[in-house]
Amino acid sequence: MTDAAISEPGLLRLSLHDVSKTFTMHLRGGVVLPVVGDVSFDVHAGECVVLGGPSGAGKSSILKMAYGNYGADSGAIRFHRGGGDSIDLVTATPRETLELRRATVGYVSQFLRTVPRVSALDVVAEPLLAHGASRGEARTRAGMLLARLNLPERLWSLPPATFSGGEQQRVNIARGFITDHPVLLLDEPTASLDATNRKAVIAMVEEKKRAGIAMLGIFHDDDVRAQVADCIVDVTRFAARAA
């Protein structure tokens, strides 16, 4: 759980330095698609940095690199874990990346990748179990979050595969917010939510800030973005030069 050093506001939590990314499409004759280049910015404890720019500018790619499911070509993506300890995700081994995800960085993806037969409550509780919480404790917290996001209780015991987009997204948000990861990545968490639930998410982001969590996110809704962003990083300034 978060210690004082982690939650102290203003501390550097995540820094990207000269990160670049291209895709080589071998099935298209090896054409190289530049995505972003020289991406550099910092995220501090207690702030929410929002990636801005039009579709296709590379916002999602930056977020995915910061979680490690896209590999960066060069540069450094450094997580600062307090006490002078830091790790660069660009050069981290798979095992180090898994440990980073377990303890340091959480992710709210746009779409839920459902596991057959696992209930919504257990999908949400899972990251907390991985943190060492008991099943009972994890389920209780999962229920609190789902209630907060107005997911009807009759759905909690069902697998989310058949849920609507908005319901799945709320399961996803609860799953991402349940732990006290010092860094949280948010990929359009409010995209398919109604006004009431958008408000609930904004309140949850505010709470994370007060708890000293560093957040990096993409929010397409102007209204939401204006409310949560402490700083907007314009991704178009990292437009990659064609290779």
């Binding site: 895709f23 080589t24 499409m25 071998h26 099935l27 995915k64 490690g68 499911n69 896209y70 590999g71 798979p94 095992r95 990346t97 898994l98 440990e99 990748r113 596991v115 057959p116 037969r117 696992v118």
Partner: protein, 258 residues
């Protein structure tokens, strides 16, 4: 997370005369980690699995396993009796065809109990109680304990094979296409069951599959094989979301979307 690997593989290769089965394979596996080996038929993934589980002797290379006493031993320096002991106690092997891993003409309870007896358990009541517990864990009705697996459906047989393998608390389990040949709904149930058991027991697993969706759901890390070589390896979601090698890109782009 343990700080020491359970298995360290270096330069492993198997040739059949001049034909390469697999070559130059190296990786480390830690407790609690699920490693998927993917590739098409003939890519060498089954040869590699058989070398690792010592069913085949490799032509070259080493695989050092951390024994229960903490010492690393090269699997290929072990005597036949030591290997069999590992296979009976510390390891499990889930075959694609349950008939290869079960005894089809003895009861379900005996299939599970037999492995316990192999590790020295002699008390009939305890063996039966443990067998019942494991049948429940793999979702087989306990009133089927005296039935032979011949009378079971494919999905039930596969679940029974899993119970038989896990009852001795192995540290490393090999799986060869464990969901192959099952109906999709049966597959989903089995995957979910495996996922839960692997996480609860903290097992290390090496799973061979040609099904990338299975690999995505179960594994932490992945090795992609082609023509006997590991051509790409890494975190499972990195390999699937951002494949680098032409062949991996082809595999990933060939997944049917539903």
């Amino acid at each position: 997370m343990s700080d020491e690997a359970l298995l360290r593989v270096n330069g492993l290769g198997k040739s059949y005369g001049s034909r390469i089965g697999c070559t130059d394979v190296g990786f480390e596996l830690w407790p609690g980690e699920v490693l998927a080996i993917v590739g098409e038929s003939g890519s060498g993934k089954t040869t590699l699995l058989n070398c690792l589980s010592t069913a085949l002797d490799p032509t070259r290379g080493r695989a050092e396993y951390r024994m229960r006493d903490g010492a690393f031993r090269n699997l290929y320096d072990l005597g036949e009796a030591e290997r069999r002991f590992l296979m009976r106690t510390d390891w499990g092997f889930v075959h694609q065809n349950p008939a290869d891993g079960l005894r089809m003409t003895v009861s379900a309870g005996a299939n599970v109990g037999e492995r316990l007896m192999a590790v020295g358990e002699r008390h009939y009541g305890r063996i039966r109680a443990t067998a019942l517990d494991w049948l429940t864990r793999v979702e087989i009705a306990t009133d089927r304990i005296d039935d032979q697996p011949r009378a079971f459906s494919g999905g039930m047989r596969q679940r029974l094979q899993i119970a038989r393998n896990l009852v001795t608390n192995p540290r490393l389990v090999f799986m060869d296409e464990p969901t192959g040949g099952l109906d999709v709904s049966v597959q989903a149930r089995l995957l979910d069951l495996l996922r839960g058991l692997v996480a609860d027991l903290g097992l290390a697993v090496i799973i061979v599959t040609h099904d990338l969706a299975v690999a995505r759901l179960l594994s932490h890390r992945m090795m992609v094989m082609k023509e006997g070589r590991v051509i790409e390896a890494g975190l499972t979601d990195r390999v699937l979301d951002d494949p680098r090698e032409p062949y991996t890109q082809l595999l990933v782009s060939s997944i049917l979307q539903v």
